[in-house]
Amino acid sequence: MRRAVPPLLGLLALLLLPLLAIEPRAWLTLTVAGLAMGMLVFLVAAGLTLIFGLMDVLNFAHGALFSWGAYAGFSVALLVNGRWGWADSPSVLANAGLLLLAVAGAVVVSSALGIVLERVIVRPVYGQHLFQILITLGATIVLEELIRIAWGPNDQVMPVPVTFKGSWDVADLVVVLRFPIIAIALGAAVYAGMWWLLHRTRVGLIVRAGVENNEMVQVMGHDIHRYFTAVFAAGSALAGVGGLMWGMFNQSIRPAMGGEQLIFAFIVVIIGGLGSVTGSLIGALLVGLSYNYVAYLVPKAAIGVTMAIMVLVLLVRPTGLYGTGK
């Protein structure tokens, strides 16, 4: 894993460099927010990059699945809170239960949509990039409009469980927002889970082999299309969870949120290298951190800096940090 070292060093430098310009307490808050944002973008980018790596499909509908996950989770949260008041109750258990149920709702809805998308829309156009892009773009328009019809076109306020609102004071010195910590923990857990799945199980082995050379996997007697559907569903589920968490992070959701997040995810996937989950994680953290630092120092340059990182990475490594150049 010698290749992993330079990007990690870059990440570390990026973490510490802003300390020159920002006072330590603000730096800590920004770092936590940046890591949380990075982890949430990672959830979206991980699915995107895996789907691309395995199936060679650039899925523009990923952003719509993100929105659908957020809205599905929102409906579950609203329902649960309306019936038992789990979001407003001070009990940690009830709060966690609400979060779990909402996540389950997001996972079920967005993975189901993902399966439908893969089977109906994407499967007929495997191998034709132009039509893949066009057709998933069409699906995005339809899915986003369906949200506007089902939930209305306006912003909705996301119910956030009490335990995860506000902040923890550590020794009266540092104030740490609670929700970002949850998001970071979730992102880290997802990454660990994906790593274990990809590197320590038989399914993961086949998926990785498929990324490497999917014809060979077929020749070995595996039904690659079943794995395609499974990976598409898993990627969609991750996007859905990402959408829900992003909605809770901002405490509001909008039908167009997915499209905006998709652009971040694209940048992250390009930085990390198409098809690499680790690359996506590093890319997402880079983008999340630098976005927050720069937004604090020079608010208007925030989007520009993520673009600058992307351009810089492409200059040095045209295939992205961990890309194989496939």
């Binding site: 132009l130 892009i133 069409g138 328009i141 019809i149 905006e260 940048i267």
Partner: protein
């Protein structure tokens, strides 16, 4: 080896095509469309019709310039509306912000817009086309979003969300009576129409040139083209930059006609989707398909508000039904998916296929 008359087979085929050119029924059709557009101001009942007609011409040309990139070169760009916006903003800024408007300012606006677009297109292409044409789609999308945010945030220069409404110089100005007693509007109409026709001719030349043929070869099979010794990267770069520059010129014309530019009307992702839809409906890789696509889409868009009012009265009882009738973009999306699925060649492409099949049936030999 050259053939009997000192011509290579390719040259002979081209000469034959050139002789046939004016005998094709579509040549007359094209001429007819052009004459209709030229005569329209004399017969148009209202300004709204005139406005719609010119916008169709403008967006048809824009769709054609996008077709050069997506249909003839096979690279998907989401930055085409951005280049259109560069032109629109460059002209609006040059004419509106540098003191009293003159023709020099107008020219300057176009030239600066073209220079910026060409540079940006080359830079984006240099980053993304090197590895994979797919990168281009993602990176242009990111850049387009960046340009949109820039236009909104940099309000001292761009006017932010409110945009700019520049005053035009000389014969283009509203009240001025021009050369032969034409009003400023009409002078603008004919100028923009002439630019559109000019752009079409240039693009036609471009795609039928040896360069254009190489591009189509790359689109059809990149590996083969590379194996034949073409540097595909350079060709793709040239094509995407060419398309972007044409889009910039059209953006400038848009400002000239509408006299107003804001981020939403000239730069946004919705414009990009419109143009994409026009190309798909008209037929990808047909150049003239954009005319059909633009006519269908813009006419529908103009008539839709009336339909929406109708929907509100018919479905007054049910909120869901009312919402369903309001979300016309949903139907565009469904139409889009269906067209891509069942008529991937669009209206013009499908027509051409039918005609070609019939011709083949008529002359079984050949």
């Amino acid at each position: 080896m050259s053939g009997a008359g000192g011509l290579t087979p390719v040259q002979a085929a081209r000469a034959a095509a050139r002789r046939r050119r004016w005998r094709e029924p579509t040549a007359l059709l094209r001429l007819g469309v052009l004459i209709a557009w030229a005569l329209l101001p004399a017969t148009a009942p209202s300004f709204q019709t005139l406005d719609l007609a010119l916008k169709i011409a403008l967006f048809a040309t824009l769709a054609a310039s996008y077709d050069v990139v997506i249909g003839y070169t096979g690279i998907v760009s989401f930055g085409h509306a951005m280049f259109f916006g560069f032109g629109a903003y460059a002209v609006a800024l040059a004419v509106g912000k540098l003191g009293a408007p003159t023709y020099g300012h107008l020219l300057l606006g176009f030239l600066v817009g073209i220079a910026i677009s060409a540079t940006v297109a080359l830079v984006i292409g240099a980053f993304s086309l090197r590895v994979k044409a797919l990168f281009f789609a993602m990176i242009t999308l990111a850049f387009a979003e960046f340009a949109l945010i820039l236009a909104v945030q940099w309000s001292p220069l761009t006017g932010g969300e409110d945009g700019l409404s520049p005053k035009l110089p000389g014969v283009f100005a509203a009240g001025a009576s021009g050369l032969v007693g034409l009003s400023g509007r009409l002078v603008t109409y004919y100028t923009v129409l002439a630019v559109c026709v000019g752009c079409f001719l240039v693009m036609r030349r471009f795609v039928h040139s040896p360069l254009g043929r190489t591009l189509q070869a790359i689109r059809d099979n990149e590996l083969r083209a590379e194996a034949l010794g073409y540097r595909t990267f350079v060709f793709q770069l040239v094509a995407s930059s060419f398309g972007s520059v044409v889009a910039t010129v059209l953006g400038g014309c848009y400002t000239l006609w509408v006299r107003y530019v804001n981020p939403e009307s000239a730069l946004g992702i919705p414009i990009m989707l419109d143009v994409l839809l026009m190309v798909i409906i008209g037929g990808i890789g047909t150049l003239y398909g954009g005319i059909v696509g633009a006519a269908v889409l813009l006419t529908a868009r103009t008539l839709l508000p009336n339909l929406r009012g109708l929907g509100a009265t018919v479905f007054a009882g049910s909120e869901i039904l009312q919402r369903l009738s309001e979300r016309w973009l949903l139907y565009f999306g469904i139409l889009f998916v269906l067209v891509v699925f069942f008529f991937p060649k669009g209206v013009l492409g499908t027509l051409r296929e039918v005609v070609a099949r019939r011709r083949r049936a008529a002359t079984p030999e050949a």
